[in-house]
Every structure is written in structure tokens, then in C-alpha cells.
């Protein structure tokens, strides 16, 4: 096992008793700063923050201007992380399972990301995980969920949760408390600042161009958020820049968990900040240079978005990515049923966008899950793969939106290019391939995307696609009508029993077409029979 960055000389910890409460630390390497939260978690999972640290670094500036992280910035990160490691030791955090370190877009997009991460690991002991966009969304969801639940207004109707980062803007759309969409836009405050600087245009002109650029990006956001008529979404803003604005626009509410800001006030404040030079922002507002650089553009994005969404007040909450990381550490990394429901909800929104047959899709997904659960001793896959299978099942026919011909291939690229909440980029590739292989050719060495996977991932695709094919074969009636499925496992064979199945000729035919892959992957034949009435009246109708 890796040595934790907070591992202390043994003598320091040897005699200390273990606290009943657990202390955890999460570190985030962001675009303009490295932040750490130290928190205490009690037996019931209640989290109490102990310490928050923040040090400015110019990771984003390096990556977005030079393509990679420079040596000076790397060493600055090393220095910061060594300090953070000491702080963790001071709180007695020495168990590697109690520390989570992640990096976002600035490291993700750096050409020398691996070299950077190696240096960090060697010099500080921090094993930094680079989050992809979907994972960022997932942690944001975990962080924001308690705030949504605490405000009944945000649990009904549409709420767009937005965080403007240095490299990108994350947007999570909640519909009646359920995730309806997760999107990441390459609209970052640092990127905007750099564009302003590179334009070398006078202040007002540069600001106008920035405004236009923001508005262009916001149009994409609006594609997924209905603002017509009375149906206006609420806006919940996250992030250090908007929290800073709260300190100035609602000082009396400083420290509150949630604050409501006037959109007009925010817009004026954004203009005020953008009207100052970075030096003036630092001097007047006591912020670091990296923060001063991003503050104005970030606030402008929030303000323009509020304007586009026609919201008069913006809610701001204290949730951060680090809260999500802590929640993840507390839950031991397992995906909760609630989280799975949110992923499914997001997949259904995606399906609806491509006008899928929801009933059919859900029935296929139900059958797939039943088969997956019954085959657990055979495939040895976990909850996450069950969820991937579910999403693939829900979206396997979305390709028909494009064309009936080779719709499985269309499904693949539609899924690949969708933002499905909760699924990381690798998960999305696996999901897309599982959906693709629900019909026609099984995986082949000529399938470029398939061969780009690791061997382990290829096996997963095969196992899940084989199940999806069978489930799809069982669902022949439009609208998803069909009885409950029972699965019996016998040596060398899988026996499926469908309740209220009626005539199973079609299913039998489709299983013949699709069952080969299952047999190849699992080495088991699939049989199907119908059941009418109670279990005692069960009778075989057909056997493959």
C-alpha cells in the first residue's frame, strides 16, 4: 500500500489512542489554487469541518497558455502540499484511506500531467487522482445535495447548479430534485482572462468581446434549460469567486450556508471588478493575484447566465468540490442508491432528448438488471457496472433518433457525446460500447473504440453487452409491456422465466439471433419459458 502523505514517524503516533471520530483530509488541485479541507466525521457520518487551507498557484495559467505545467509551478505545488501534509499530521491523519487528493482541468489538460503527478507523489506522498468532468459533476452533486434538500424551493421545478471554474464551467440541472442533466462547458474564468489579455484591446472593448464569448457559451447552456413562459429555473451558484461576491454584496450573511444575491447587484459588482486592474483588485480586496485574475470574468459569467435564465435572485451556497470528496470518503466510495437514481434520471433525460421509447428502454433495463444480479457469481462485477448496464440499456436505441439503419452505431456516438451525470469519460466509453453491441456484430478487432480499451474494460463490455442482448431479446412488445422475469441458473445453462408472457415465439427467435454472444462470453446456454398465474402453475412453453 502507498504511504500516506500524512504518514508520520512511527514514534509520533505509536501511543496515541484512536479517536471514535474519524478525521479526514481532502485536497483539490484547482486552476488557481490548491485547497485542502480537514474534517471530522462522527459515527453517524455527520461531518464537522476542522480546517480549510488555500494557497494560490498558477496551474491553470501554465496549462492554458503553455500547454503544460512549468517546473516553477510544480515546485510551488510541492511546497504547498508539503505544508498541507504537515497540517494533516498535526490532526493525526495518517491513514491513507482518510486522505483524498484530486486534480481538475488544469492538470487534466496539461501535456505533462503524468510527469507532474509523479513529481508530486515522489516529493509529497500525495497520490493525486485526476478527475474527469463527469467525476467533477458527481462530487459537485454530492456536495450540493444537502443544500438542495434544505431548501424546499430548490427541490421542486428546475434548478441549475453552476460553478464557474478557471478552466471550465460545470452545470448540473436538477428537475424536482433529480439530476436532469450534467454539462461541462469550456468556459473558464482564467481562459477568459487570458483571452482578454491576449486581445490587447482597450478595457471596454476587451470586456465587450468577453461578454460576447460568454453569451455564445451560455446559449449551449440554455439548450438544456427551459426558460420559456412561467417556467423559469432557479440558479444555485457555487465557487470561490461567487462566495467572495457574497462577502461584499451580503456582508451581514457572511458565514451563512446559503445566501441570496440580487442578479442586478452581482452584475454591477462584476462590472466594478472588471473595471479595476488586477493590481487594484489585489490591493483593494486583499486577494491573491491568481484569484484577482479570475474574479471579474467569473462573476461576469454568473451575471450573464442569470440574465439569460431571467432569474432575479441567485442563490449561493457554500458547497465545494471538497465537500463532495469528504462525502465520498465518508461513504467509502460506494455509490448510494440515491446517487444511482440520479444517474438513471440523467440517462432518462438524455433518452428523452433523442425521443426514445421509454417504456421499452426501462423494461430492457429491468430485465438486464435481473439477469445481471442472477449472474453475479459468474461475472463478478459490481454496483458500478450494474449502473453502466442500466444506462446502456436505457439508451441502447437512442441511435434510432438519427436513423433506423445501424442505429446501434448511432447510439454509440450519441452516448459518447452526451453528458450523463455520474459517469466518467471511461465509464461513458464502456456504456456506449455496451449499447452498441446490443445487436448485430459482437466486438471485433477492427472496432477502433473497442480495441482502445484495456483488456479488463473489454471483458466488462463483453459481459454486459451479452446480458443486454438477452434482455433486449425478451422485450419485444412496444411500450415495454411484459411480465416479470425470473432467472434460474443450472450447470451450463441459464433458464429465464417470464410471467404473463403469452406467446414467446418472437422472443425465442430474437434469442436465437442474439444469444450466441452470451454463450460465448459465459459459456452457458440461455433458455426461456413462460409462466402463467402462480408459480405452481408454471409450464414450459418453449425452450431454446
Amino acid at each position: 500500500m502507498r504511504k500516506s502523505p500524512a504518514s508520520a514517524p512511527e514514534s509520533r503516533e505509536a501511543d496515541a489512542p484512536r479517536a471514535a471520530k474519524r478525521t479526514v483530509g481532502v485536497v483539490e488541485l484547482g486552476t488557481t489554487s490548491i485547497r485542502m479541507a480537514v474534517a471530522q466525521v462522527d459515527e453517524k457520518g455527520v461531518v464537522r469541518p476542522l480546517d480549510m487551507l488555500n494557497q494560490a498557484v498558477s496551474l491553470g495559467r501554465d496549462t492554458f497558455t503553455r500547454g503544460g505545467i512549468g517546473a516553477e509551478t510544480t515546485e510551488a505545488c510541492v511546497k504547498v502540499l508539503r505544508g498541507f501534509a504537515r497540517t494533516l499530521r498535526e490532526y493525526g491523519v495518517s491513514d491513507p484511506g482518510s486522505v483524498s487528493a484530486v486534480a481538475t482541468s488544469a492538470v487534466r489538460e496539461a501535456a505533462n500531467a503524468y510527469a507532474f503527478l509523479d513529481r508530486i507523489s515522489i516529493a509529497t506522498g500525495f497520490d493525486v487522482k485526476v478527475l474527469d468532468e463527469a467525476e467533477v459533476n458527481r462530487f459537485t452533486y454530492l456536495a450540493v445535495l444537502p443544500h438542495l434538500r434544505a431548501d424546499a424551493r430548490m427541490m421542486s421545478g428546475d434548478t441549475l447548479v453552476v460553478e464557474v471554474g478557471g478552466g471550465s464551467t460545470e452545470a448540473l440541472l436538477f428537475r424536482d430534485g433529480r439530476v436532469a442533466g450534467a454539462h461541462t462547458y469550456r468556459l473558464g474564468s482564467l481562459r477568459l482572462r487570458q483571452a482578454m489579455e491576449e486581445s490587447r484591446l482597450p478595457g471596454r472593448r476587451a470586456m465587450q468581446i468577453t461578454r460576447n464569448e460568454i453569451d455564445r457559451a451560455i446559449r449551449h447552456v440554455l439548450d438544456s434549460v427551459p426558460v420559456a413562459g412561467e417556467r423559469r429555473p432557479g440558479m444555485l451558484a457555487l465557487g470561490g469567486d461567487i462566495r467572495f461576491a457574497c462577502l461584499h454584496l451580503a456582508p451581514a450573511r457572511a458565514g451563512a450556508e446559503r445566501v441570496s444575491l440580487s442578479a442586478a447587484g452581482l452584475s454591477a459588482f462584476a462590472d466594478e471588478i472588471l473595471g479595476l486592474s488586477v493590481d487594484e483588485v489585489v490591493k483593494r480586496h486583499h486577494v491573491s493575484y491568481p484569484d484577482a485574475e479570475t474574479l471579474g470574468p467569473a462573476l461576469l459569467v454568473y451575471a450573464r447566465l442569470a440574465d439569460a435564465l431571467k432569474v432575479r435572485r441567485i442563490r449561493v451556497c457554500k458547497a465545494t468540490l471538497r465537500d463532495g470528496l469528504v462525502a465520498e470518503l465518508v461513504s467509502g466510495g460506494s455509490w448510494t442508491p440515491e446517487f444511482e437514481r440520479q444517474v438513471v434520471s440523467s440517462a432518462l433525460e438524455t433518452g428523452a432528448k433523442y425521443r426514445f421509447d421509454r417504456g421499452h428502454a426501462e423494461r430492457v433495463a429491468d430485465y438486464a438488471r435481473v439477469i445481471f444480479d442472477a449472474l453475479e457469481p459468474e461475472h463478478h462485477l459490481g454496483q458500478k457496472h450494474r449502473l453502466i448496464l442500466t444506462v446502456a440499456a436505457l439508451l441502447h436505441e437512442t441511435g434510432e433518433f438519427v436513423s433506423n439503419r445501424s442505429h446501434h452505431k448511432h447510439s454509440q456516438y450519441l452516448i459518447l457525446n452526451s453528458d450523463i451525470f455520474g459517469l466518467g469519460s471511461r465509464d461513458l466509453v464502456v456504456t456506449a460500447l455496451v449499447a452498441r453491441y446490443h445487436r448485430q456484430s459482437p466486438p471485433k478487432p477492427t472496432h477502433e473504440l473497442y480495441v482502445s480499451l484495456s483488456r479488463q474494460e473489454r471483458v466488462v463490455v463483453a459481459k454486459l453487452a451479452a446480458i443486454l442482448r438477452v434482455a433486449d431479446a425478451l422485450t419485444t412488445r412496444p411500450g415495454g409491456r411484459g411480465g416479470a422475469l425470473r432467472v434460474g441458473i443450472a450447470p451450463g445453462e441459464v433458464n429465464l422465466a417470464l410471467e404473463d408472457a403469452g406467446d414467446l415465439t418472437l422472443q425465442q427467435h430474437r434469442l436465437r439471433q442474439k444469444g450466441n454472444m452470451f454463450e460465448q462470453v459465459y459459456g452457458m446456454r440461455v433458455g426461456i419459458r413462460g409462466r402463467r398465474g402462480t408459480a405452481h402453475e408454471e409450464q414450459a412453453i418453449d425452450v431454446v
Binding site: A16, P17, K21, G83, R86, T87, H286
Partner: protein, 701 residues
């Protein structure tokens, strides 16, 4: 409203008035004789620092031709003029006090200075023996052929100028004899009763020819110079003013000798020679009618015996709230604690660090040390903790004025023991007093905190009146950690839940609290402000207090030292009263009270209300929300505003006067707090005695 200049007192003159109040203690017949000697020494020593840190900077600004007026409207040249006049009067008062009051009374008490011409033969013999044995081996006269070749002499050290007649037809010779700091100022002489002494410079003068043989000694003149330390003015200037100062420093044309003190009996020739050699301006020359450096006579106050000539010895009392048999962690967990020193002992603070050092469940200790004693038990405990594997971080402010060398010494020792030592912040002095102990307990990590208004120095904690607050409040703990992280450079400053820190928001918080009272009063609601600090200089704070007064807020200020606020001016400040207390213990605590619509808020702070504290130092303002602690601090404040013995009331003209004819019984807050501390201990002991715990026989089987 009147012009801003008329609204504020000049800070230098206000400081001189403070020093006058210290001198008044030496002049007061109510003060025990040896304490008066001590106060005379303190006033002299204060004046030394004033010349070093204030006059020097003003001299340079004036020399550069700067005409920039200070907030009271005076240019540097004009300030020097008025300072010169006021100091001349003060010096005259000091020497009159020494010559006319203290010396005769000391003689009456049996403590007698013996001059050369008064020495009995055995006394002269003793002086000669002392010279031969103690002085001759170490004194090294510096022959100065030409005043232009005068070597750099260290400031604030006693020297003796010796003028010798030149040999036939040759010019006179001059030499300077430095009197080392290791030498005692007082040379004890034999006498049948009491205590007789000679001043060391007199003994040197008696036998100077043995150091400079070959020519007749015409004159031996003790003298001392004060050099510009240019610290104070620079720290108080801000922004572009600092740039101006840098320019001045670059172009320093004059010697940095800002004061020359010599005996008034010196010849004109000696005076001319010294002023030429030291390049000191005429206004910097002080010919004093008595011993140069009266602070050196403070050693008399420590003479063995003569206890009847001093205040009765005061032993800080144990805090009745703290059971010495219990762990300090248990005590703090049970309730928040306010400690009031020197009435209560500093031991609980020392215990906190010492227990932390030895407690296996303590993970880390973090402490800010500004000034501490050489043999500080706090530093020793930090070292022990580091040796035992605790994570110890000490922020050591090396720039604590005149304590730099001492701080470096023990900071290095701490590093050797494994502690992480941070040498302050660039450009900012770290003045906050904070100790955090991080302890792992069954319920999780708990942070035990001590916030203070005074330094972690158990020696000064017996002499300075300070308050401390011990708590394990989680919000304050989070804030304290965030504050410490920013001071140690581990993190950028984070928003606080409860604390306010300078220079990032403490001033704004104080202004906000004052403005809140003002707003309430304007709406006809009751409002009140009470502040006890050492200095009130910041123009923004003063203007906020003026606005409060104009709105009708009752503002009571207890400002020990400099106060630039002009109280009692109709239409401006008639609702403000300012009192100052100078007494046995140096008033040092900073306490803030705001009525806040009945929801009274009380704070303690490391900061005075000066630009340097609020804008250029790292300071803390700590809310004391615990009801019992808040009540205690309110009672302490009540006492400070009730004092009618040592309290002096600031008049609109800048003078301080004793309170009017007392209608009430005399109340002296420091004595009352001593009595209260003794009574509290007696009450606690009685309470313990009321619980009888018999030795029970073993149960019969």
C-alpha cells in the same frame, strides 16, 4: 464640524502627556519612595525610546524639507519645535523631582549618594579599590585627536569625555571612555548605617588620570547620546509616505545622533567639542542638572531591605475557577475561562503548554510569541513538546522592538529541538497572542485555545495588567487554525466565523461595531461603547467615535497612553469621556464593549487603535461570547471606569486632570482587583472546606 486638524491631538504631544503621568507617579507623595525612584527611571527610559523611535524619524523628515502635516495639522518641523519645548519642561521636572524630592527623602531613609568631595577616607579608599579592581582592567579610553575623527559611539550608553591640557604650547587632548553596560551604575561605599553609593561615572572621573597618564585632567564629563532607530515613525507612516521616508534615509545627511545628554556642569569647551564631534543639533542637546540617565538609578529601587519603601509584594493569586489538581484540559472543557493578570497567576497559561507537552493525546501546539523571557517556561515546554514528537509551530516575531537578539537565541534553540519556527511575516509585525493545542479525544479532535492581550512572558505577566481567554469553542478553534495557517504561510487568509484579524478586517469590524451603536442611537435606542486600550490614534476610528458621540452614544474610553481623540467638545465629542490610569501595574489589556441593543458584545484584543496596529500589524479581535466570561470582563471594565484615585481625565485642551472632588469613596481599581483576587481565593478555599471528606473505616466483612 471643525477642521480635522483641530479635532485631533498630536500623537507625540499626547505621548509626552502620558509620560508626564508616569512622572507624576514619581512626584506623588502617595507613592512609596522606592517606587517613585522606579517611576522616575521608567519615565526616563520611556523618553529614551521616544527619542529613538519618534524624534529621529521626525528629524529626518524635517531635514528633507517635508511639509506634510500629520493628522493634527503639524509639519515635522513644527512638531519638533513643540516636542522640544515640552520635553525641556519634562526634563526639568524629572531633575527637579530627583534633586528636590527623591534625593532628600532617600537620604532621610538612609540611602545616600556620596559625591567626590563628600567622601570619607574609607569611602575614597573603597572607590579607589573598586576602580583598580573592576574598572581599570576593562575601561578602554579612545583618544580623539580631532572631533571629526570621532568614532561611532553606541547609543544610550554612558561615556565620559576627558579633556586634558596639552603639553607646553600643544593643543588640549580629548578622550572618550565608554562605560560598559556590564558595569554597575552604583558603586557601594562603606557607611556606618544605611546605604551609601557613588555613581560609577564619578569614580571614573576621580581616577581618570590613571587611564590617561601624562597630562593634567581638566575635566571629566559624563555624557550619553541617543541614536535614531527610525522604527516608530516608519511603522506609523503608510503608503507613499513610506516612499518619502525611504528617500530621506537614502539621503541621510546628518548624523543620526538625535540627542546628547551631558551634565549641566560641563564647560562650554566640552559642550562645543561634543556637539561638533557628534554633529548633534542644538535642539538635541540636553544639559542636565544631575546624573545623566536617571533610568540607571532604578537599581536603587531593588536595594535589599527597605521593604517599607515599596508597595507590599504582590503574589498573583491562583484562579479560583481552576482546580490545580485537575487537568487544564478538563477545566477548559468544563467552562471558558477569563484570566486577569497580574491579579491572577499566569500559571494556567504555562500549564496549558506544559501539560500539552507531556500529554500523549496532544498532537500539535501552535503558538505566536512576540516578546518572552529568556528563561520562559512556555518556550521550555514548547521545546519539550517538540522533543517528545509533538508538532510544534512557533511564530516568533524577530522585530519585537529591542528584543531581536534575544528572540533569535531561543528561536534557534526551539528549532534544534525539532519545532518549526516561522520568523514572522514579510512587512508585517505579528503582534497577536495566540496558543492552540490540538488534542485527540474520544469525541474527536478538540482545539484548546488561549487568546491574550499580553505577551507569553511570565515575568511581565506579574507587572502588566492583561487579560486572557481560554476556551475550546469549535468556531473559535476553526478561526484560530485558519488565522495560524495564514500567519505561517500555510494558507491564504480564509473568512472567519467569529474572529477578526488585522490588517484584513479588524479595523472594519471595529468601525462596524461603532457604527452599529451610532445607527441604533439615531433611531432612539439605547447605545453604549466602552473601550479600554493603550493608545487611540487611528483617525478613522476617532472619526467614527465622534459620529457616535454626535448621535448621542455614551462613549467611555480608558486609554492608558496616547489619545489623539479630543473629548468633551460641544457638537463633536461631548458624549465622550477619556480617562487614563497609570498605577503600580502597567495597564496593557484591551477590552471592547458594545451595548448592541442589549445583546452586549465584549471583545478582547492584542491591538491598540493605532494605524500601525490596525493597518500594518497582525492582530486579533476575539469575541468573548461565554456569558460568565463576558460578565467578568464587564465587571473589570466597570472597575476601570470607577477608579477615582489613579484615574486622570483628559480635558478638551489635551491636559489630564485628577477627577473632581470625590463624592464617592476612593476607589483604586488595581488595588480593588488585588483584594478581589485574594477574596476569591479565600471564598474558594472556604467552599472546599465546606465539603467534608471523612476517612472512613474499611467495611467489615
Amino acid at each position: 464640524m471643525k477642521s480635522r486638524q483641530l479635532m485631533l491631538f498630536n500623537r507625540e504631544l499626547s505621548w509626552l502627556e502620558f509620560n508626564q503621568r508616569v512622572l507624576d507617579e514619581a512626584l506623588s507623595e502617595d507613592t512609596p519612595l522606592l517606587e517613585r525612584v522606579k517611576f522616575l527611571g521608567i519615565a526616563a527610559s520611556n523618553l529614551d525610546e521616544f527619542f529613538m523611535v519618534r524624534v529621529g524619524g521626525l528629524e529626518m523628515l524635517a531635514a528633507s524639507g517635508s511639509r506634510r502635516a500629520d493628522p493634527s495639522g503639524l509639519t515635522p518641523a513644527r512638531q519638533l519645535e513643540v516636542i522640544g519645548r515640552r520635553v525641556a519642561r519634562m526634563v526639568a521636572d524629572q531633575y527637579a523631582c530627583h534633586r528636590d524630592l527623591l534625593e532628600p527623602q532617600l537620604v532621610a531613609a538612609g540611602i545616600r549618594r556620596v559625591r567626590r568631595r563628600e567622601m570619607a577616607p574609607d569611602q575614597a579608599r573603597r572607590a579607589e579599590e573598586f576602580f583598580n579592581a573592576e574598572l581599570l582592567p576593562v575601561l578602554s579610553p579612545l583618544a580623539v585627536a580631532d572631533p571629526a575623527d570621532m568614532p561611532d559611539l553606541p547609543g544610550l550608553r554612558l561615556h565620559v569625555l576627558v579633556r586634558q591640557a596639552g603639553a607646553a604650547g600643544r593643543p588640549e587632548r580629548c578622550a572618550v571612555i565608554p562605560v560598559g553596560t556590564a558595569m554597575s551604575r552604583l558603586v557601594r561605599l562603606p557607611c556606618p548605617s544605611g546605604h551609601a553609593y557613588a555613581l560609577v561615572e564619578d569614580v571614573i572621573a576621580m581616577f581618570a588620570e590613571r587611564l590617561l597618564p601624562g597630562a593634567e585632567i581638566e575635566e571629566a564629563v559624563p555624557f550619553r547620546i541617543t541614536r535614531n532607530a527610525d522604527i516608530g515613525v516608519r511603522e506609523d507612516l503608510g503608503g507613499d509616505f513610506m516612499a518619502e521616508m525611504e528617500h530621506v534615509l537614502d539621503q541621510r545627511k546628518y548624523s543620526d545622533c538625535v540627542r546628547l545628554e551631558l551634565r549641566a556642569s560641563a564647560s562650554r569647551a566640552a559642550l562645543k567639542w561634543l556637539t561638533g564631534a557628534l554633529r548633534v543639533r542644538e535642539r538635541g542637546v540636553y544639559a542636565v542638572p544631575g546624573p545623566v540617565n536617571l533610568a540607571g538609578l532604578s537599581a536603587l529601587a531593588a536595594l535589599e531591605g527597605y521593604d517599607e519603601l515599596r508597595y507590599p509584594e504582590w503574589t498573583p493569586q491562583p484562579s479560583p475557577q481552576i482546580d490545580p489538581r485537575e487537568s487544564i484540559f478538563d477545566e477548559i472543557r468544563r467552562r471558558d475561562l477569563v484570566l486577569c493578570h497580574p491579579y491572577e497567576s499566569f500559571d494556567p497559561v504555562t500549564r496549558l503548554v506544559e501539560e500539552a507537552a507531556r500529554d500523549p493525546e496532544v498532537l500539535a501546539i501552535k503558538q505566536i510569541l512576540y516578546r518572552t523571557s529568556v528563561s520562559s517556561p512556555v518556550v521550555a515546554a514548547l521545546g519539550e513538546a517538540a522533543s517528545r514528537g509533538k508538532y510544534v509551530t512557533a511564530v516568533v516575531e524577530l522585530r519585537a522592538r529591542f528584543d531581536e537578539a534575544r528572540n533569535i537565541e531561543w528561536a534557534r534553540e526551539l528549532e534544534r529541538q525539532g519545532a518549526q519556527v516561522i520568523y514572522g511575516l514579510k512587512g508585517l509585525k505579528t503582534h497577536a497572542k495566540l496558543c492552540i493545542v490540538v488534542r485527540r479525544e474520544a469525541g474527536g479532535v478538540v482545539r484548546y485555545l488561549h487568546f491574550g492581550t499580553g505577551n507569553y512572558n511570565e515575568r511581565t505577566a506579574r507587572l502588566y495588567s492583561d487579560v486572557g481567554y481560554m476556551t475550546c469553542d469549535p468556531d473559535l478553534g476553526a478561526d484560530a487554525s485558519a488565522f495560524f495557517n495564514s500567519v505561517t504561510g500555510c494558507s491564504e487568509p480564509q473568512p472567519f466565523l467569529k474572529l477578526a484579524a488585522a490588517p484584513l478586517g479588524l479595523k472594519e469590524r471595529i468601525l462596524e461595531l461603532i457604527e452599529n451603536e451610532t445607527a441604533r442611537r439615531r433611531q432612539g435606542r439605547r447605545a453604549a461603547i466602552r473601550i479600554k486600550v493603550n493608545a487611540l490614534v487611528h483617525p478613522q476610528v476617532i472619526e467614527a467615535l465622534y459620529r457616535a458621540s454626535q448621535a448621542g452614544v455614551r462613549v467611555d474610553l480608558n486609554v492608558r497612553g496616547i489619545c489623539c481623540l479630543r473629548p468633551g467638545v460641544k457638537g463633536l465629542s461631548e458624549n465622550i469621556t477619556v480617562v487614563s490610569i497609570v498605577d503600580r501595574f502597567l495597564e496593557h489589556s484591551r477590552i471592547f464593549y458594545f451595548y448592541q441593543g442589549g445583546g452586549e458584545r465584549v471583545f478582547i484584543s492584542s491591538a491598540d487603535l493605532m494605524p500601525r496596529n490596525l493597518d500594518r500589524r497582525v492582530e486579533l479581535l476575539v469575541p468573548v461570547d461565554d456569558a460568565a466570561c463576558r460578565r467578568r470582563l464587564c465587571r473589570i471594565l466597570d472597575g476601570y471606569f470607577r477608579d477615582n484615585v489613579k484615574s486622570r481625565v483628559l480635558a478638551p485642551d489635551g491636559t489630564y486632570r485628577a477627577p473632581g472632588p470625590a463624592r464617592r469613596r476612593p476607589y483604586r481599581v488595581q488595588f480593588a482587583m488585588c483584594a478581589e483576587a485574594l477574596q476569591a481565593v479565600r471564598t474558594a478555599q472556604a467552599a472546599r472546606r465546606s465539603v467534608l471528606q471523612p476517612h472512613l473505616p474499611a467495611e467489615e466483612h
